[in-house]
């Protein structure tokens, strides 16, 4: 099951620029697997390699154990929903969806019944005889999905299918897409640069940065336990703070962070006193207390308060560090207040470590 679609040490350069720099992934049958990363990190390149439009410089792609290297795109049992949909402008919606089955040489009756089924699945029956130029962006996106799914691909590749749409429609289609996946059960490889989209739709996410995979995990773990500073800051908001290990305690070690004082942490990897670390602290894991009677080195000043309705965000400067703090409900502190930032123990997370012994 782990090895339904295996991407093994893929490298791809364009000129001198490595678009993919040793990417390995194992994608499971039936899951929604997202490739998440900023623009230019190589997501589309990887998708094009899986679809067969380009070939990797090295590494291989195995689908159900079979190396697909020699197969041209038309022979691969995968279909793509393109970033700009790429609907054929001279064909009606119905003919667009029928294109794949026609190429595969299905019987006429089978084509028309399957196309009708897909039209119903994406709720486009009454638009079937229009041209792509006559339907809206959201409808084009649904047609593109139907046109791909009608071929019953083993893997459906989706390249930022919602990127061109406005926020409202995006949220609506995201729900539809999740429902669609439950209905068809096809393995989805979903490319996006929008972390909220990836978090809400995916079973697992690979976070990519500059041609490499930084971390592959379920959404919850990516958020709660990011393993690199990049992942921590790309997934949601976070505070990245430098600290040093200054001692050990009964069940972990003590880390000193300027502005926050001495905190307890249970590192997942061996660590020694003197090591320098980078910590990720989510804004909602921090809270503010009155700073009047505290150690002056731990007292910060509220710079900015923004009330969002369900929560309030504060920007606090403490020992030359700017911290983002998020609390429930309405603002309890005002600009200029002296506060102390408290950390919910157990939520501290080391995302980078530099050993002192070297």
């Amino acid at each position: 099951m782990e090895d339904f679609l295996v991407i093994d040490a893929i490298r791809k350069r364009f000129g001198n620029h490595p678009a993919l720099d040793g990417v390995s992934l194992q994608i499971r049958e039936g899951e929604v697997f997202s490739l998440l990363g900023p623009s230019g990190c190589g997501k589309t390149t990887l998708l094009r390699l899986i679809a067969g439009f380009d070939s990797p410089d090295s590494g291989q792609i195995l689908l159900q154990g079979r190396n697909v290297a020699g197969l041209p795109p038309e022979k691969r049992p995968v279909n793509t929903v393109f970033q700009n949909y790429a609907l054929f402008p001279h064909l009606s919606i119905r003919e667009n969806i029928a294109f794949g089955p026609k190429m595969a040489g299905w019987a006429r009756s089978q084509i028309s019944s399957e196309v009708a089924r897909m039209l119903a699945l994406v709720k486009m029956e009454d638009q079937a005889d229009k041209l792509p130029s006559q339907i809206s962006g959201g409808q084009k996106q649904r047609v593109a999905i139907a046109r791909a799914l009608v071929n019953k691909p083993r893997v459906l590749l989706l390249d930022e299918p919602l990127a061109a749409l406005d926020l409202k429609l995006r949220q609506h289609l995201l729900v539809e897409l999740a429902a669609l996946h439950r209905e068809v059960g096809t393995t989805f490889v979903y490319v996006t640069h929008d972390q909220a989209e990836a978090m809400s739709l995916s079973h697992r996410i690979a976070v990519m940065n500059a041609g490499r995979v930084e971390q592959v995990d379920v959404p919850e773990s990516l958020y709660r336990a990011p393993r690199t500073p990049f992942v921590a800051s790309f997934i949601g908001d976070t505070n990245l703070l430098a600290g040093s290990i200054t001692g050990t305690s009964s069940n972990g070690c003590k880390v000193t962070v300027p502005g926050l004082g001495v905190l307890e942490i249970r590192p997942e990897t061996p660590i020694t006193v003197g090591d320098q670390v980078t910590l990720s602290l989510r804004p909602e894991d921090l809270s503010l207390t009155d700073g009047k009677d505290s150690d002056p080195s731990l007292v910060g000043v509220v710079d900015e308060v923004i009330y969002f309705g369900a929560f309030t965000r504060y920007w606090v400067t403490s020992s030359n560090q700017r911290l983002l703090v998020q609390t429930h409900g309405k603002a309890a502190w005002a600009r200029g207040d002296a506060v102390r930032v408290a950390v919910d123990p157990g939520t501290l997370h080391i995302v980078e470590m530099k050993s002192s012994v070297q």
């Binding site: 790429a86 054929f88 064909l91 041209l131």
Partner: protein
């Protein structure tokens, strides 16, 4: 689609006036004069007599012209077909080249225009001449005997027509291909079409406008041709243009020349009207299912 009755607003009418005047002065009036001339009697001194006569029309309808009309059509048709066959892949590859190269290649395509048309045709004559290098080469390779001729036959006419007209096919096809979204070919491949099938099913419909423009340009300039058959053709490769030229220059029978010209003109006009009707019809109906 909405089909509203178009109302012409005053400024729009004003704006189209210059081009209408231009059309009137340089196209409609001369064409009308030619048509009128066809109904005049010829006088013996090579001029046009007074009064009206259908003699020229009668003469131009002589069945002896039929084989020449037929030859004009098929030679233009074949050279059009050849032009499209070459220009289509050229347009495709031109459009896929890096931008910088596209400009250079288009320049190369139009470069022959810098040489006078007659000189280019005469260059072909010397190329295909029995002492020319093509003939000598083919004879040396044993592909041709001394008795055979490359010149003065329909083949030579079609080849030179093809050469002269090729840029007129490449340019509209390149313009169409340049606007084509090549991502659509990826989509077609992704959906199971082989490279050739994708080209046929997606690229060709995508550049249909350019194809029609190229065909019309090449075909219409072909049916009016008379210099090429005169220079590289023989007695049995005359086209209707040659006949018109003969009536004008040797027989000095302007009315008969006008009658033949009018027939050609009306044929071409019919072709263009049919094309614009087809386009209007397609825009109205949308795609068939």
């Amino acid at each position: 689609m909405k089909s509203q009755a178009k109302k012409v607003c005053p400024t729009e009418a004003l704006l189209t006036t210059p081009s209408l005047l231009w059309l009137l002065a340089f196209f409609a009036v001369p064409a009308g004069l030619v048509l009128l001339l066809a109904f005049r009697p010829a006088d013996l001194h090579g001029g046009v007599g007074s009064g009206w006569s259908v003699a020229a029309i009668k003469a131009a309808s002589d069945p002896a012209y039929l084989p020449i009309w037929w030859r004009t059509l098929w030679m233009s048709g074949v050279s059009t077909l050849l032009c499209l066959l070459v220009a289509l892949p050229m347009g495709y590859h031109l459009a896929r080249m890096p931008r910088r190269w596209q400009g250079i290649m288009v320049l190369l395509v139009v470069l022959p225009f810098l040489t006078n048309f007659l000189i280019r045709v005469f260059a072909w004559k010397s190329l295909l001449h029995p002492d020319g290098m093509v003939c000598r080469g083919l004879i040396a390779m044993g592909l041709m005997t001394e008795e055979q001729q490359l010149l003065y036959n329909a083949g030579a006419v079609v080849v030179v027509m093809f050469y002269v007209q090729l840029p007129f096919a490449i340019l509209p096809l390149y313009a169409a291909a340049e606007k084509f979204d090549f991502g659509l070919l990826d989509a077609a491949r992704d959906l199971g079409a082989g490279a050739a099938r994708a080209f046929w099913e997606v690229f060709i419909p995508g550049v249909r406008g350019g194809l029609v423009a190229a065909s019309l340009m090449v075909f219409i300039s072909g049916v009016g041709q008379y210099v090429i058959p005169q220079i590289v053709g023989g007695v049995d490769t005359e086209m209707i243009g040659n006949k018109i030229a003969q009536r004008v220059f040797s027989d000095r029978n302007l009315p008969e020349a006008s009658a033949l010209s009018s027939m050609l003109l009306l044929g071409v006009l019919a072709l263009m009207i049919a094309n614009s009707l087809r386009r209007r019809l397609m825009a109205k109906e949308g795609p068939g299912v």
